[in-house]
């Protein structure tokens, strides 16, 4: 057992509120005696965990300023909550909370909020969802609870930023977000994970639960901008009740190790989910997305589009599972995964996985791995654009199409900026500038 694995067992999570103690005790007993998966475990076949063999200590409070650490802190116009190395940072948190929204750290929850958290924590992610969820549960000291009241419509996004900064030792953090969208509410939540621009070794385990009651609509964005030696193993579970809609967007730049599991569970009829994502590892980085769309009841729809550009010697994994249960008639589920390899040494393992037990469903899936389209390259070159520039433009275009699905305009512009810099384009001309 490595250091980070012992951490929740050795320390008694002194900072955790009293009402969370029995949750922690139960989780610790689940966690105790756990062993790390190996390449022989099907779910981890293409993602090795060597990066976790570092001696990770608990995160400390001694953090340098964000500017020195090279961390960007964008503002998307709404309420912003910032955590650095797992600790709430009042200095950078700001904005007014809209009416009908409560947003509270577990540590600050009042009796009613504490009761709501206890009722809903773990409701989506379940008890059996793997080792790293148990670790997250067992390590819970603080987390964020967002509740949108029934019929409330929130225009501005709620922005939660998790930053892994610098400290002397390698460190590990466990982060938790619980979003509860009451009946017929509408909201947007942006989760941003950023790391210091350095060779700091860190391991983040971020678990997010999204609970959408009847008729609720949630736009959720999970943006992973950590690079270099910042490892992340994370999970997002959404549970959709009758007529609920989830629009979920994911982005991951690569790092030494990134593994994100996304589960969307359609539990009520006429629920709809749209899941879009991008992964862009390069150098010797690694990104692994495992997605699972559960259709338990009839008349639900889901669409999923993930694209990856894998460069240099980087590796990526995409595993897209669609599980249509016996009763889920009239399900319409679409899945598409396209990958671009920009180097002969880059590698991607993509696998659609369909498990269908209902007979009256529409389900399509496709996965491709390709180089850039020769005819598109020729067309650009026939206008004088060099081959290298044409390749960059086409790569940018390939991911830009998915960025277009981001509904939150300031976020879309921000992401486009990041990608523009990454693909060395002129920012004045790539956006919607006309």
């Amino acid at each position: 057992m490595t250091d980070f694995m012992r951490l929740p067992l050795d320390s008694a999570a002194a900072g955790a509120p009293l009402w969370l103690q029995d949750y922690l005790r139960e989780a610790r007993s689940r966690w105790e005696g756990s062993t790390l998966p190996t390449r022989k475990t099907e779910e981890w076949k293409y993602t090795g965990l060597q990066a976790l063999r570092v001696s990770y200590a608990a995160a400390s409070e001694g953090v340098v300023g964000l500017a020195e650490a090279g961390v960007e802190l964008p503002h998307f116009g709404g309420y912003r909550l910032v955590f650095i190395n797992g600790r709430y940072c009042a200095e950078h948190s700001d904005g007014n909370l809209p009416e009908g929204v409560s947003l509270v750290r577990f540590a600050d929850a009042g009796p009613a909020q504490a009761a709501a958290i206890r009722d809903h924590l773990g409701a989506a992610v379940g008890r059996e969802e793997g080792l790293f969820t148990a670790l997250n549960d067992a390590s819970l000291e603080d987390g964020v609870f967002v509740e949108i009241e029934a019929r409330v419509r929130v225009e501005q996004p709620l922005h939660v930023v998790w930053i892994s900064g610098n400290q002397e030792q390698a460190f590990s953090i466990n982060q938790r977000l619980l979003v509860l969208c009451r009946q017929d509410s509408t909201a947007s939540v942006i989760e941003q994970f950023s790391g210091a621009r350095s060779e700091q070794q860190s391991f983040t385990n971020g678990v997010t639960e999204l609970l959408l009651e009847d008729g609720a609509t949630l736009n959720h964005y999970r943006i992973h901008l950590e690079e270099a030696a910042a490892a992340h193993i994370g999970r997002q579970h959404a549970r959709l009740e009758t007529g609920a809609t989830l629009n979920s967007f994911h982005l991951a730049l690569g790092s030494v190790l990134k593994r994100i599991d996304v589960v969307v569970d359609h539990c009520g009829q006429r629920a709809h989910s749209e899941l879009n994502g991008l992964y862009l590892p390069r150098g010797d980085e690694h990104v692994d997305y495992h997605t699972c769309i559960e259709h338990r009841v009839p008349n639900c729809t889901s669409t999923e589009t993930f694209r990856g550009i894998i460069g240099d010697e980087a590796t990526a994994v995409f595993n897209g599972r669609i599980h249509i249960h016996r009763d889920a008639q009239k399900t319409n589920a679409q899945l598409s995964n396209r990958n671009l390899l920009t180097s002969t040494r880059a590698e991607v393992n993509t696998k659609p996985e369909l498990e269908i037990y209902a007979d009256d469903v529409q389900c399509s899936h496709g996965a491709t791995v390709a180089q850039l389209d020769e005819m598109s390259l020729h067309y650009l070159r026939s206008r004088g654009v060099s081959r290298a520039q044409a390749q960059t433009m086409l790569s940018f275009g390939f991911v830009n199409e998915v960025v277009d699905t981001v509904r939150c305009e300031p976020l879309r512009d921000y992401l486009r900026g990041i990608l523009t810099r990454r693909f060395a384009r002129d920012p004045a001309i790539t956006g919607s500038m006309v």
Binding site: H378, L380, R381, S382, R383, M393, F396, R425
Partner: protein
């Protein structure tokens, strides 16, 4: 300006051009007509350097340079422009970005700095008006979801912005209604000058009512079998191609 001599070219091992010769001088407008499958489009593709089109014999020089030795982008930077019969759709790359990259490539060739974005956008919008294309199309992906006519207008827009020395129009008139045809003709006629030339590949005499050619050539069986002035086009319109093919055979 353009001298093509005894050009032979093949696609997927099939010979398409079989000894084509053509000389285009500055200021001239040439029309190339001919039946389906005679190699009209192949000529444009070979001159633009499309992958998969192999030159097996003959030569092509453009402004004194051996065209066949140059990369596609080098040909474009020298001032050769092919308006595609089937322009390529590139979702995700904005039309504006594409157009600016093309203009900047020409500027780089002349040793100039990239054009500033504001000036460029103003130019692009003005030229949109000239080709009767809604400036909203600048924001869209390159040709993405454009109708046939809109794609052709977009080709013309590119030609207006790039101001090439030689414009080759590959069936730019096909699928256009009479209004769109006049827009294309206005664009080409506005660019006609003593140091610029055009080669128009077309099926129909109709285009030549609006853009008057100096020479009309008939392409059949991979080479030019008859050349004349614009009256040849009228004769073809009246008699079809069969009599020429018979004569050649």
């Amino acid at each position: 300006m353009l001298i093509v001599e005894n050009l032979h070219a093949s696609v997927d091992g099939t010979d398409i051009l079989k000894g084509l010769s053509l000389t285009v001088n500055p200021g001239e407008v040439h029309a190339i007509m001919g039946p389906n499958g005679s190699g009209k489009s192949t000529l444009g593709h070979v001159l633009a350097g499309r992958p998969g089109y192999t030159v097996t014999a003959g030569s092509a020089t453009f402004l004194g340079q051996n065209l066949l030795d140059l990369e596609t982008e080098e040909r474009a930077r020298l001032g050769l422009f092919l308006a595609f019969q089937y322009p390529v759709e590139i979702p995700g790359v904005s039309n504006m970005e594409f157009l600016k990259a093309a203009v900047d490539a020409q500027r780089e060739q002349r040793g100039e700095k990239p054009i500033d974005a504001v000036t460029f956008m103003k130019n692009a919008r003005e030229n949109c008006k000239a080709v009767d294309l809604d400036p909203a199309f600048l924001k869209r992906g390159v040709n993405e979801g454009f109708s046939g006519g809109e794609k052709k207008r977009n080709e013309l827009l590119q030609m207006l912005l790039l101001q090439p020395r030689l414009g080759i129009l590959d069936e730019t008139d096909s699928g256009l209604d009479i209004d769109a045809l006049q827009v294309v003709a206005r664009g080409v006629n506005s660019m006609r000058s003593a140091d610029r030339a055009f080669v128009m590949v077309t099926h129909y005499q109709r285009l030549l009512d609006f853009i008057e050619p100096d020479f009309v050539h008939v392409l059949a069986g991979g080479r030019i079998v008859r050349s004349g002035d614009k009256s040849l086009a009228l004769e073809l319109e009246a008699r079809g191609y069969a009599w020429l093919e018979d004569e050649v055979a």
